[in-house]
Every structure is written in structure tokens, then in C-alpha cells.
């Protein structure tokens, strides 16, 4: 059944779009975008004709084959028009995170030598204008959203529809040009430069070809076949490889509808209206979802709560048996079905998860507790593993073989082995060409013909991959005990009161943690107990909050080996923030930055008699201004560790 899709391996991404638009499915819905409160639908023909107009518009403006077009845009159809239009005329697309600060945006545009930038709205345009003095290659800036643009009188800036108009005029005066450009593209050509979020350093530009992306989509679907009526919901940042893999490669290969939310803030409601059937999410999404369910259950009526508890008990029973690959008895099945009708269906519906056939988590480890919880809820959640450099994913759980300690088995076409140092190595047609303008990093990453993932892991006897952590992040206590800080962090983060946690202990006598409370949840907890507070800083240093978190740490400790238990912790006086460089744009913790910034706190936790540490720290606000926060932070001991 997959044979016809294998033919896609000899196509390019834009050729797939034109085949679909020109074929019997041309009038089917390809994209759906909520605008003015109504879901607007666009067919494959609409999609192709916009992409054609935009691509030729760039040609009319002077785009040469092989030049880069940076796209700085939220999830909406114009993103895909720009991407596919660029690719169709031989350009290379570069996604830029739209929540990045001007300086970071400038770095990517400059490093990629982009000659054109698509900036969604005034906010994005302002960033590009701010840094364009340092962008000698930049020729024109194309804006998508006309709101507020009437004030812009800049010869370098022009609106999206005008580019399309220029493209249509070009098309009329240059018949056959577009077809020639489209036919000139080869599968092994560079399609996208994807800047990795860079937990360790400045983002690197991974070069992916059409074949890389298409191979990933085709082989992945050989594990979990797609159906023509599947619905994708595009809500993750478009420059992220996971979103590209789905909304571009998979959608084009299998002809699946991509749905876009109206605004970032309406994502939840729009998702409920669409009812996606396939959903990718980073661990943060699933953790947030778990927290959301737990908080809502706290708030509901006692009767509903009781029904939920009962349903979840039955749900856990079935989920645990499935995770242990034990057969379900008739009673298990009946109770499981009953629990679904009793409560779980309503919970899934409320969280936009009701129609999901396949849910995936990836990008970082997801805590087993969260994983087990969501499976008990009835979500077919599976781990997958991969990286930008392999165009998305290389391993995934099979439906009947899900285990939370592994990330599944390799997809067809991916060779996987473990190096003597314990590093995961991969090989296959979806492995990237290398890093743009960084031959040295490329040599290291592709040494010996294998992709070096940088992750430490091992294979089980039956071929499942277990990822321990980043090779560089596995830590060793002073006595030589190995531990994975991420694993402990996930244990801690399972508590609804814990927003983020950073675990320390490398070369130290014991494990300690810096914990950030979850402001809405702890805030509600405090209000319910009539504990007054003002700011995050104030709330985080309340003795009652310390006691609350200490209890949560003890609970997490119970499931950890003796040596890896958290003995001391501090509650941080501020939330970790990407603008302070403490998180990456995909919200992964940057350990080194935190180690440097909070050195005093860390030393205090390992001091002989820790108590209060005076703190003077600089906080950077969204507008770039900085302020100094002064407070005293308490170091807490955890009993029983």
C-alpha cells in the first residue's frame, strides 16, 4: 500500500504540490485557516496558485536560483505559500523563530545570506528594519498582515499580495518559465536550512534536501500509515523541524489537510473545533496538558471528581497492562470502556484530544509519570526520537509495543548503532548534508559516514532505543555515581506546582535542584489558603510554598535511586526566560548559563550550613530594558533523602 508513496522519493516538495493540485484531488481542502472567526478553506489548487504567484513574484524582484529566503511568520497559509513558492523557483527557504529578539533574527538572516525576508506583521518588520544595516545581502522585505502598515513608507518593504501580483504579471509575460524552473529542481537539491535551537551554542544551520524531508515522511508513515481524512493542526513554531516534517513534507506526500489557528492565543479553542487526528508535541505540551487536567479536576464538583478518579483507576489498569504487554481480560476491557464513557471522554474532548489516533512526544525526555497518565487517559501517546539533522524522526514506538523507558525502534531505512563511547549513531537517506558554512561542525557530525547524535543511549535486546541524555549532560557525582539530571527534573516537574527544575550535582557529593514554581497553580493554591502574596518573587519565597514544594520533592525522591535523590533545593525568585538566555527558543533549559548566573545559589546549596542567600540579579524585560532584583533566597533541606 505504500508503493505509490515511495514514488514521492524521486520528486521535489513543490513537484508534489503541483501533482496534487493538477490531479483528481485538486479541489479538495489542503489548508484551513481561521480568519474573521470563520474557518476559511483553501484547495490544493489555491495552494499551488498562491505559491506559484509568490515564487514568480520573487523571480520578478530578482531572486536567483540557490538564493535564500528567510521566513519570519506565524503558522498561517502564507508561510506555506512563501516556502513552496521559494522552493518551486529554485530558492532555499530558511525559517526564523518569530518570538526571537531582533539580534537573534539578524544572526540567522545574516548567516544564511538571505536576500529576501518574509516578515509577518509590523512587529516582525520592526525587528528586521532594526537590524537591516547589518544585512548587506538583504534586498526586499515582504509583509503579510496589512494591519498597521499604512504608516510604513519604505521602498524596501512591500506587501505579500503585491509580490503575488508581480508574479502573475511575470507569468503572463514569460510563459513556460515557471514550468522550466519547477522541472529544474532535483530531489537531492538543498530545500531548507533549519536553524537548530542550540541548547549549547549559537544556532547552526542544518541543510536538508527535498529527499531528506520526503524520505522522513514516507518512512515514518510506513510505521503509522496516514489516511486521507487525517487532520493536522499546525501550532508549533514553523521553523522547528517537527512542524516542517508534518505540515510540509507529510502533508504534501500524503495529501493531508493542514489546519492553522486564528491567533496563538486561540490555539486551544481552535484545536477543539478542528479535532486533529495526529498531533506532535514537545514534552512541555504534554506536561502542560497533564497539569491542566489536574487543575481542572481540583476545581470540579465532588461527583465529577469521583467519577474521574474511578475512570482513571480503570484507565491506569488497562494502560499498565498494555505497557507491560500483558493481555487485557474481558473485565479490563469493559471497565476501560466504562471509564471512557464515565469521564475520560469528556476530559479528552475538553482538551481537544478526542479524535487523536496518534499522539507523539519528542524533542526531549517526557517523564514516565506524565506518559503513563496520558495513556491511562486514553491517548495513544508514543515516544519518538530524532533530530533536525535527520529531518525529523528516526525512531518511534509501534502501536502494540509502547514502553515509557524507550523511544521505540528505528523506522524503515534508518540504520542505528551505538558507538563505543555510548553515543547514538544513525545512517539513512534522511540524514542531512551538513551545517551551512560550518565544514568543521559538519565533519564532526558526519564522521565516518554516520550521523553523530550527541546523545548517550543503548539498545535493548529486542531493538528498542533507550536515550539516557545528551552525551555531554550525563552527570557524575563525586563518588562516581552516574545520573541523568533530566530524568530527575521530569520527576519533579510532574508536580503541578513545579514549573521548571534544574538539577545539579556533577562532581558534587549529592544532587540538588533549582526549582521554579508554576505561578498560576501555586498562586491559586496560596489564594485558596488565604496566603497573601504580591509578585512571583514574593510568592516563591513564602515558607508555606517551601513546605509545599518540599513535600513534592519528597514524593519525586521516592521513585529515585537512593544516590540520585534531591537533598537540597532552592526556589528561584524569577521564572527562567528565553530573553535572559536561560532557555532556548523551544524552551529547553541552558545549563551552562544557569550554572554561571546562579553560581552563588549553587555554592550556597553545597555549603556547610546553608540558610539564606542574598541575591542581586539582573532581569531583562521583553522591551530589552534591564532591572535589578534584590531578595534573599532560602536553601531547603529535604527530609528522608
Amino acid at each position: 500500500m505504500t508503493a505509490p508513496h515511495r514514488a514521492a522519493l524521486d520528486a521535489t516538495l513543490p513537484r508534489l504540490l503541483w501533482e496534487r493540485a493538477g490531479g483528481p484531488e485538486g479541489r479538495r481542502v489542503a489548508l484551513r485557516y481561521k480568519d474573521l472567526g470563520i474557518w476559511q478553506e483553501f484547495t490544493w489548487q489555491d495552494y499551488a496558485s498562491h505559491a506559484r504567484a509568490f515564487g514568480l513574484g520573487l523571480v520578478a524582484l530578482g531572486l536567483q536560483p540557490g538564493e535564500k529566503v528567510a521566513i519570519l511568520c506565524d503558522n498561517r497559509p502564507e508561510w506555506l505559500y512563501a516556502e513552496l513558492g521559494t522552493l518551486a523557483v529554485g530558492g532555499i527557504a530558511v525559517g526564523v523563530y518569530q518570538d526571537a529578539a531582533a539580534r537573534e533574527v539578524g544572526h540567522v538572516i545574516d548567516h544564511a545570506d538571505a536576500t529576501y525576508v518574509v516578515a509577518e506583521d509590523q512587529e516582525q518588520l520592526d525587528k528586521v528594519v532594526e537590524i537591516r544595516g547589518d544585512l548587506p545581502h538583504l534586498r526586499r522585505i515582504v509583509t503579510v498582515d496589512p494591519k498597521g502598515m499604512h504608516r510604513v513608507r519604505d521602498p524596501q518593504v512591500l506587501p505579500f499580495p503585491e509580490v503575488e501580483e508581480a508574479g502573475r504579471r511575470w507569468d503572463a509575460t514569460h510563459p513556460g518559465h515557471f514550468d522550466a524552473l519547477l522541472a529544474a529542481g532535483r530531489p537531492e537539491d538543498l530545500a531548507n536550512i533549519v536553524y537548530t535551537s542550540g541548547t549549547t551554542a549559537f544556532p547552526k544551520g542544518a541543510m536538508l534536501t527535498h529527499r531528506n524531508l520526503i524520505t522522513m515522511a514516507v518512512t515514518f508513515a510506513e510505521v503509522d500509515p496516514l489516511r486521507p481524512d487525517d487532520q493536522l493542526f499546525s501550532y508549533l513554531p514553523m521553523p522547528w523541524i517537527g512542524e516542517m516534517a508534518m505540515s510540509i513534507a507529510t502533508a504534501l506526500v500524503f495529501g493531508i489537510t493542514v489546519n492553522f489557528p486564528e491567533e496563538v492565543e486561540t490555539t486551544h479553542d481552535d484545536g477543539r473545533e478542528i479535532g486533529p487526528t495526529i498531533l506532535f508535541g514537545p514534552p512541555r505540551l504534554w506536561e502542560a496538558l497533564t497539569r491542566q487536567v489536574q487543575v481542572k479536576i481540583m476545581d470540579t464538583t465532588p461527583l465529577a471528581r469521583a467519577a474521574y478518579r474511578l475512570a482513571m483507576r480503570w484507565g491506569y489498569r488497562a494502560a499498565d497492562k498494555r505497557l507491560n504487554r500483558q493481555p487485557l481480560t474481558i473485565v479490563d476491557r469493559i471497565l476501560h470502556g466504562l471509564g471512557y464513557l464515565l469521564a475520560r471522554r469528556a476530559v479528552l474532548d475538553d482538551t481537544a484530544m478526542l479524535r487523536i489516533r496518534h499522539a507523539y512526544t519528542g524533542g526531549a525526555a517526557l517523564g514516565p509519570d506524565t506518559f503513563r497518565f496520558l495513556r491511562a487517559l486514553g491517548l495513544n501517546l508514543k515516544q519518538l526520537y530524532g533530530q533536525t539533522e535527520i529531518a525529523g524522526y528516526s525512531c518511534v514506538h509501534r502501536d502494540d509495543d509502547v514502553r515509557f523507558e524507550t523511544v521505540g525502534r528505528p523506522v524503515p531505512g534508518v540504520d542505528l548503532r551505538i558507538s563505543p563511547e555510548g553515543e547514538i549513531l544513525e545512517r539513512g537517506d534522511s540524514v542531512f548534508l551538513g551545517y551551512y558554512k560550518d565544514p568543521q561542525a559538519t565533519r564532526v557530525a558526519l564522521e565516518g559516514g554516520w550521523l553523530h547524535s550527541g546523545d548517550a543511549g543503548y539498545l535493548t535486546d529486542d531493538g528498542h532505543l533507550v536515550v539516557i541524555d545528551r552525551l555531554a549532560d550525563v552527570m557524575k557525582l563525586a563518588d562516581g555515581t552516574l545520573f541523568s539530571p533530566q530524568f530527575i527534573e521530569n520527576k519533579l516537574k510532574f508536580s503541578p506546582y513545579v514549573g521548571e527544575a534544574v538539577v545539579l550535582g556533577h562532581g558534587r557529593p549529592f544532587v540538588a535542584a533549582i526549582i521554579m514554581i508554576d505561578m498560576p497553580v501555586v498562586g491559586k493554591w496560596a489564594e485558596d489558603r488565604q496566603i497573601p502574596y504580591t509578585t512571583y518573587t514574593d510568592l516563591s519565597q513564602k515558607p508555606d510554598v517551601y513546605a509545599l514544594v518540599a513535600g513534592e520533592v519528597q514524593r519525586a525522591n521516592a521513585a529515585l535511586p537512593e544516590a540520585a535523590r534531591v537533598r537540597r533545593f532552592v526556589l528561584l525568585y524569577k521564572e527562567l526566560d528565553a530573553d535572559d538566555g536561560e532557555l532556548t527558543r523551544t524552551r529547553k533549559v541552558r545549563r551552562r548559563t544557569i550554572g554561571e548566573r546562579y553560581g552563588d545559589l549553587i555554592e550556597a546549596m553545597y555549603g556547610a550550613r546553608p540558610d539564606r542567600v542574598p541575591v542581586r540579579a539582573t532581569v531583562t524585560y521583553q522591551d530589552g530594558t534591564a532591572a535589578v532584583v534584590e531578595t534573599a533566597v532560602r536553601v531547603a533541606e529535604v527530609g528522608g533523602a
Binding site: 474573521l36 472567526g37 494591519k147 498597521g148 499604512h150 504608516r151 486564528e262 492565543e265 486561540t266
Partner: protein, 262 residues
């Protein structure tokens, strides 16, 4: 700023207003030209809100005339003035708190509804077409003011800053030619103020709405208005561009001086 050729859009001439023995407005004259953004500033109790109430017909001043597009409206009822194209927002938000944002904005379309009761009952043909176009217009305002996330939220449950924005949306939904804004940013933190300033400037520049606003925040007034009138004890004590007003010694003494002292 485009007009001024065919006479002012709004012309207030020698208006006085007294409640019992208390003079609220004394001989106030003011004009607003089509396309302008005009601010009225002044200390508390200077008569700013009373002036707006005279313009949109809540109060009828004794001596004095108010003309809109050359037509005298001094004694015209508020709903008639609204029908002529004068919109208004209130300092203390006036919305249907039990209804959703969308419902509040749709209600504001009332003056544009042309179909009759029978057509509404049948909901066919003209009534349906009109309702569709009203919804579209309202959705454009929702988009304009970034209200999508709260489209279906009950107004009473929204935070203050958002309710202020909905109030502005309600006024915009009436499609006014002249919009009277009574302290549209009062009590807001600086970030929300900046948003409202942007919306107000956009309403003027993109939608072509003429604006007359009362505002306390001097920085905002300087940012947003083309011309400023200064009111004190019911009298106009200064008029000019924000720059000249800022350096007018009488104004500094009467208004800015008092602000600085208090």
C-alpha cells in the same frame, strides 16, 4: 488633517452649562476638523466630561450652539446624534456585562440595521444578507483590536484593560465619523496604554475616524493628538499643538504645575 476646507466637522460655539448655581462650562468654544485627533485636557472637575455630554446630547447647554457638519445639534436627543455619526466611549465602561464580546459589538450595529421585524422573523433574503455583513464588520473590528481570544467571552468576566478595549470596539462598531473618547486609557498599565494609543492612531489613520478625546496622561496626549484644548474651571485657557501647549506658562501653572505638585 485632510479637511479644514469645508468648515469644521464639529463646531462648539460659546457653550455654557450650569447646574443650579454651579458653572460647569463657561463660554467654551472648540472646533474639530474632519480627520483630526483633538485632545481635551484639564484637572479633575474642569468640565471635560460635561463638554462631551453636551456634544452627544446628554446635556443641553443654555447659551451656546453646537453644530455637526454645519447642522445645529444643540437640542437634539442623544440617539439622534448617534445616528448622525457621533460615537462615544465612557470613562466608566458602559457594556452589557452579561453578554459576550461579540454580542456587545453586534448590538452596536443597531443604527445600521435596515430590515424590519417581519424580515427578521423570516430571516431570509435581506435580513440574512445584512446580518452576514454586520458580522463581517464586527469581525473586522475584532481583528483590528486583537480581540479574537475573547470573542465568545462574557464581558463581565474580562479584566479591566480588555473591557476598555471592548468599549472602544463597541464604539467603532457603530462606524462613527466622529468618535468621542472619555479617558480611554484611564487606570491602565503602560503596556496596555501603548496598545490603546496604537489602536486609536490606527482608527484615525486607517479607518479615517475623527477623534475628540479626553485624557489625563500627558505623554499619551502629546503622542496621540494633533491639537490640544486645555480646560480649567470650565474655561478654555489654552489651545494649540502639543508642543506649544507644553510650553504655555498658563497651562503649566494650571495643569502641569498642579500635576507636578499633587
Amino acid at each position: 488633517m485632510t479637511a479644514g476646507t469645508a468648515g469644521p466637522l464639529l463646531d462648539v460655539e460659546h457653550v455654557s452649562l450650569a447646574f443650579g448655581g454651579l458653572d460647569v462650562l463657561s463660554d467654551v468654544s472648540l472646533e474639530v476638523r474632519s480627520g483630526e485627533r483633538v485632545a481635551v485636557i484639564g484637572p479633575n472637575g474642569a468640565g471635560k466630561t460635561s463638554l462631551l455630554n453636551c456634544i452627544n446630547g446628554f446635556y443641553h447647554p443654555q447659551p451656546g450652539r453646537i453644530r455637526y457638519r454645519g447642522r445645529e445639534i444643540t437640542r437634539v436627543a442623544p440617539h439622534e446624534i448617534a445616528r448622525l455619526g457621533v460615537g462615544r466611549t465612557f470613562q466608566n465602561i458602559e457594556l452589557f456585562t452579561g453578554a459576550t464580546v461579540l454580542q456587545n459589538l453586534l448590538l452596536a450595529r443597531h443604527r445600521h440595521i435596515r430590515y424590519g421585524l417581519l424580515a427578521a422573523a423570516a430571516y431570509y433574503g435581506r435580513a440574512q444578507q445584512e446580518e452576514t455583513s454586520h458580522r463581517r464588520r464586527v469581525e473586522e473590528i475584532i481583528d483590528f483590536l486583537d480581540l479574537e481570544p475573547v470573542r465568545h467571552a462574557i464581558v463581565g468576566g474580562l479584566p479591566y484593560g480588555l473591557r476598555k478595549r471592548v468599549e472602544l470596539g463597541r464604539a467603532l462598531a457603530t462606524e462613527p465619523e466622529l468618535l468621542l473618547l472619555d479617558e480611554p486609557m484611564a487606570g491602565m498599565p503602560i503596556e496596555e496604554k501603548e496598545d490603546i494609543v496604537r489602536f486609536i492612531a490606527d482608527a484615525n489613520e486607517e479607518l479615517g475616524i475623527t477623534l475628540l478625546l479626553i485624557e489625563h496622561d500627558m505623554a499619551v496626549v502629546m503622542d496621540v493628538s494633533h491639537r490640544v484644548y486645555v480646560l480649567e474651571h470650565g474655561r478654555v485657557i489654552g489651545v494649540g499643538t502639543p508642543g506649544t501647549i507644553r510650553s504655555d506658562p498658563r497651562v503649566i501653572q494650571a495643569y502641569l504645575g498642579e500635576e507636578a505638585a499633587g
